[in-house]
Subunit: 333 residues, 2 copies
């Protein structure tokens, strides 16, 4: 491609838009459905109930330890489908790009998306490219919308949650938040984002276990915000055991140093599951067999209540978690 940076003309729908789409997006993300090049993509027949989700990614910086905006844009949407019990199938990808962004950076992002899509078993079937004048958008933003199929027999929902249920997480928390913050501030924290696709481990879990009632991925706002929202919807209280919360030593020491609470830090490869108490051990045994679930553990339980989330601290106290108010880390995803 002649131009080494994105020009406004790359967004005018004309010759340069065509060139950009062909040489960057189709080159990396192409498939038979995308190649229809209609105004809409016609999909092969899908059997079963459909689930749909949309997410925009405005993360800053675009490249961070353990990932980049492309990988995040695929995994983030795939994970929203997966925690809803759906098998992710198709994505759309819409790029909003600042004039002056490098073509090389865009190619790196497209290649990263392609690798992530392959790993997650999804195809990008429709796309869009817009260019905004320099200074009117920061780098590149990506929207992905995902379509998945809910297998017969899978029925997750707040309404299944009841006192006595256990709360499970598949691994340690706070790594994405720390990794992005470190890169943004120019610190060398030596922490990688946990950015991963959860379709595999959740499919493995649901096909081997019963008793999974509800799942959510604790991204923006972290475990605390996700659990608070679930508790409110379920109309129960959640009790967490602080000492059971898996936090990597490195993340914990950075949090101690900077006064951050890992419970509010974003994760991009974790899911919370509310499960029937009697199935909890079997669920944990199953998760432990998967690479993304080696550290899976039970972090708390559900009790009668009205939407509170409490943490019992190691020294015997109890504190109440609230929805976060005040963005410590804007543009984390």
């Amino acid at each position: 491609m002649d131009a080494r940076v994105i020009l406004l003309s790359h967004g005018d729908g004309g010759a340069l838009t065509r060139e950009l789409i062909n040489q960057v997006f189709f080159a990396h993300l192409g498939n038979a459905i995308l190649a229809q090049e209609g105004d809409a993509a016609c999909l092969p027949e899908l059997e079963g109930r459909l689930a749909i989700t949309t997410d925009s990614f405005v993360v800053s910086p675009v490249f961070f330890p353990g990932g980049d905006i492309g990988k995040l844009a695929v995994y983030g949407t795939v994970n929203d489908l997966a925690v809803s019990g759906a098998v992710p199938r198709y994505l759309t990808a819409a790029f909003m790009i600042e004039e002056g962004f490098t073509i090389e950076g865009l190619e790196q992002i497209a290649a990263s998306m392609a690798a992530a899509a392959l790993e997650a078993g999804v195809q990008v079937v429709a796309g869009d490219t817009k260019v905004v004048e320099r200074g009117h958008l920061d780098g590149v933003f990506i929207n992905t919308t995902g379509l998945g199929v809910i297998p017969p027999g899978v029925d997750l929902g707040y309404h299944h949650i009841q006192p006595g249920d256990r709360i499970v997480i598949n691994g340690s928390i706070g790594e994405h938040g720390v990794a992005v913050m470190g890169r943004r501030q120019g610190f060398s924290f030596d922490v990688q984002s946990d950015c991963a696709q959860l379709g595999g481990i959740i499919g493995f879990l649901l096909s081997n276990c019963k008793g999974v009632k509800f799942m959510r991925d604790p991204t923006r706002g972290g475990v605390a915000t996700a659990l608070k929202e679930i508790a409110l919807q379920a109309g129960c209280d959640f009790y967490l055991e602080e000492e059971k919360l898996p936090v990597a030593a490195r993340v914990r020491s950075i949090c101690d140093l900077l006064g951050l609470d890992p419970l509010y830090l974003a994760n991009e490869g974790k899911f919370l599951a509310v499960v029937a108490a009697g199935e909890c051990d079997r669920i944990l045994d199953t998760l432990h067999q998967h690479p993304l679930g080696r550290q899976a553990c039970c972090i708390g339980e559900v009790r009668p209540g009205s939407g509170n989330v409490f943490v019992r601290t190691a020294i015997g106290g109890t504190r109440r978690l609230e929805l976060y108010t005040g963005a410590i880390l804007p543009r984390i995803c």
Copy 2:
């Protein structure tokens, strides 16, 4: 809502995000599916082949004569489904908002989207809200992704196009481009955007006529760019009659004054159809019965060739149209 402008905290996934979603987005766009509030929306069963399309809207200014970014974001995606022969059913809506944007403006946009969605017969079933620091995004960007169902018997595609076919448009061209440009530059052009949803007229056309082979809405890049792309894909030449091109007197005089070609100006309520010659009259008669098709006309024909688009001028000359190179009007949609 307490804050009168968007704060970074409105995007942190916490209490203010929840408040914004409830008081602005759910208040205007709410429905039973959106109210599931899961990570993905579970859709009622859809019969038939699915079509999907995605589009981001970065139009500047956000409010323009005849419409706003909200209306555009609904109609733009609905129209991409409609020209593909699909009946639009569901939309996702993702908002990227600049810190400091007014809540009032956002409410106006949400109300406009709600009215547009109602008119187009679609429901917004999933959403997302991100906030970006002041100066890192210009106002508000919206991505909408649309899902539609292709009725049995509808089969549009480039491969049906053949020499002898006619090229039809449902009305006059260039109004959206002129309206947005005028508002941006502070001119009082007295031209309204043609912004309209095409699901109704296209459904009416397809259920009453045969012989429709391919359709496209000539948005960014205008009629010239859309036809050039279709001609290239079909492997035919297109011949247009300049004097048959419907251009409102006001648009024509503004174009003459500013040296613009209406063939390259964006439209947001128009579609081009390539139709069988023998059905053309019946198709035009049908279109004339619909409010959005009163000025429908045949503007040209398909001939053997290799992807050229020619315009025969009123004085007997012929000029060749190319894909546009050089953005005269960035951020037109």
